[in-house]
């Protein structure tokens, strides 16, 4: 296939704009079940899902998700050797935030990540590295914003099982790219909070299991969040002829400051006739503070519906809740609408409108965010 001038220019222009930008490169959890694939690993190189797309995922990016185009790396202009897979995520965003009488206009580079996999069929190294984005100034110098969220060695005996060691996001919950979602931010899965660890997983015809044991990052310059050791477990079962998935999950983590035990459920249900996917997650967490500190019980919840309204268009709505102490009437809630448009392979426009607040929205704030996403 010939490469058009436009398809060369777009990544270059975006890369230049972004010479100063990272955030999350996760997956689109709505695509599981809705696009005829039963598990995330079907479209991603990582058997745990997320990040770099495999050949099937790239093909789907052109034909199924968007209204056309070539989803291959560099639009098919260059085919990397089989031992080398490369990709990337570039995002720029503009946002208007309001709270009370105050409003704030932001325009910022959001993400500039490169994803690579080097190795053979069974043994490989995977890496995600980029420049951290930032909505507010002053940001640290560019070199200090270099960060690698994931770098690990993975062994795959076959397509159904894997072992990996290094830094990676444990399989847990709905892996939304939105790192500010309550189920990520308040459960220890925020931006650059990926721990170091060893993990493994197995996928079968109708189920999959993933487990991770993790330790704190060796230095604070590598990330953020609580430096804890612990384990996670995620087990998913697909039912109803691959129109529904139900998962149970658990996490136990210990740090100098606290001990946390989390249990939760994740569910997805696809209605093919209406072309609507429902997805939800509910987690309960017990947190004990070090020394003679108290114990509190927390709740994190996410519920949403996404309609595939037309070829290349997704319209979604979601509600979120974070309750830091179930014995007290204290909560942070959010409701949001998402409109995502995939005009061609590699390109996404995403409009997010969110209303959030504490308690019964006693001090509400709004966020209107428009992002342009280009993936290599």
């Amino acid at each position: 296939m010939r490469l058009s001038a436009c398809s060369i220019a777009i990544p270059i222009v975006v890369a230049v704009i972004l010479a100063g930008a990272v955030t999350p490169a996760a997956a689109y959890p709505q695509f599981q079940l809705a696009l005829g694939v039963d598990r995330c690993g079907a479209c991603h190189v990582s058997p745990a899902g997320g990040g770099l797309l495999d050949a099937y995922g790239r093909d789907e990016a052109g034909d199924t998700i968007s209204t056309g185009g070539d989803g291959r790396f560099l639009h098919g202009a260059w085919e990397p050797p089989s031992w080398f897979q490369l990709g990337g995520d570039l995002r720029v965003a503009t946002a208007i935030k309001t709270r009370g009488h105050e409003s704030e206009l932001l325009a910022f580079p959001m993400q500039a990540d490169v994803n690579a996999r080097v190795g053979g069929e069974h043994l490989a190294v995977q890496l995600t590295i980029g420049v951290r984005g930032g909505a507010r100034d002053p940001q640290p110098p560019l070199v200090e914003r270099l960060a690698s969220r994931e770098h690990y060695v993975v062994y795959q005996r076959d397509t159904d099982s894997y072992l990996r060691a290094g830094r990676f996001a444990p399989v847990f919950g709905i892996r939304t790219p939105d790192h500010t979602a309550a189920i990520r931010r308040y459960l220890g899965f925020g931006l650059l909070e990926e721990p170091y660890g060893i993990g493994g997983g197995w996928s079968g015809e109708a189920s999959e299991v993933h487990a991770t044991a993790f330790v704190p990052r060796p230095s604070d310059v590598l990330g953020a969040g609580v430096k804890a050791s612990g384990v996670t477990l995620y087990a998913e079962r697909r039912i109803g002829g691959d129109t529904a998935a139900l998962a149970g999950q658990a996490k136990i983590a210990f740090s100098d400051a606290d001990a946390v035990a989390t249990a939760g459920v994740v569910g997805k249900r696809w209605f093919p006739g209406a072309r609507v996917l429902l997805l939800g997650e509910l987690d309960l967490q017990r947190q004990s503070f070090a020394g003679d500190g108290p114990t509190r019980y927390q709740l994190a919840a996410y519920g949403g519906a996404t309609a595939f309204v037309a070829h290349g268009w997704m319209l979604g709505a979601a509600v979120q809740r974070w309750q830091p102490d179930l014995r007290r009437p204290t909560a942070r809630d959010a409701v949001e609408v998402n409109l995502q448009y995939f005009p061609r392979a590699h390109v996404e426009l995403h409009l997010l409108l969110r209303l959030s607040g504490s308690g019964d929205f006693e001090r509400p704030g709004t966020l209107s965010l428009l992002q342009l996403h280009y993936y290599l």
Partner: protein, 134 residues
């Protein structure tokens, strides 16, 4: 309906002590998850020169004295926390979104989702009790 669900859930929970206005609790329960995120006041980014990621360091940044040590003449007082006086502490204005006279305060924190009133009250109680580092 919401109240019923809350009662059902909370009814199963063992009773607990109210959250203590102590720095060790405040930092772990409120400051770290709400403020020390990767893009804000973490070691990585330290917006406004503030790194609130670890307990002792965050205390020094906010209060202006070294955790566990009495104030020394050479310690320049930060203007975020005035021990014993929540009403003159900038941190409280930022968390409330209003100054001591109730006027809207700029630089409201956190900028995305405000802290619940009960958590702001806990921070105020800690300051009123002397903002110690225990």
């Amino acid at each position: 309906m919401k109240a019923l669900a809350l009662v059902a859930l909370c009814g199963c929970l063992p009773p607990g002590d109210p959250p203590p206005p102590r720095w060790s609790y405040l930092h772990t329960a409120i400051i770290a998850p709400s403020c020390a995120t990767a893009s804000c006041h973490s070691r990585l980014t330290a917006l406004a020169g503030l790194d609130l990621s670890d307990r002792e360091g965050a205390y020094t940044f906010l209060v202006g004295t070294i955790c566990g040590q009495p104030p020394r003449p050479i310690d320049a007082p930060r203007n975020y926390v005035t021990p014993g006086s929540a009403e003159t502490s900038t941190l409280v204005y930022q968390l409330r979104g209003a100054d001591a006279n109730g006027r809207p305060y700029r630089d409201v924190m956190p900028p995305d989702v405000p802290l619940p009133a009960s958590e702001v009250a806990l921070v105020e109680a800690w300051i009123e009790e002397g903002a110690s580092c225990d």
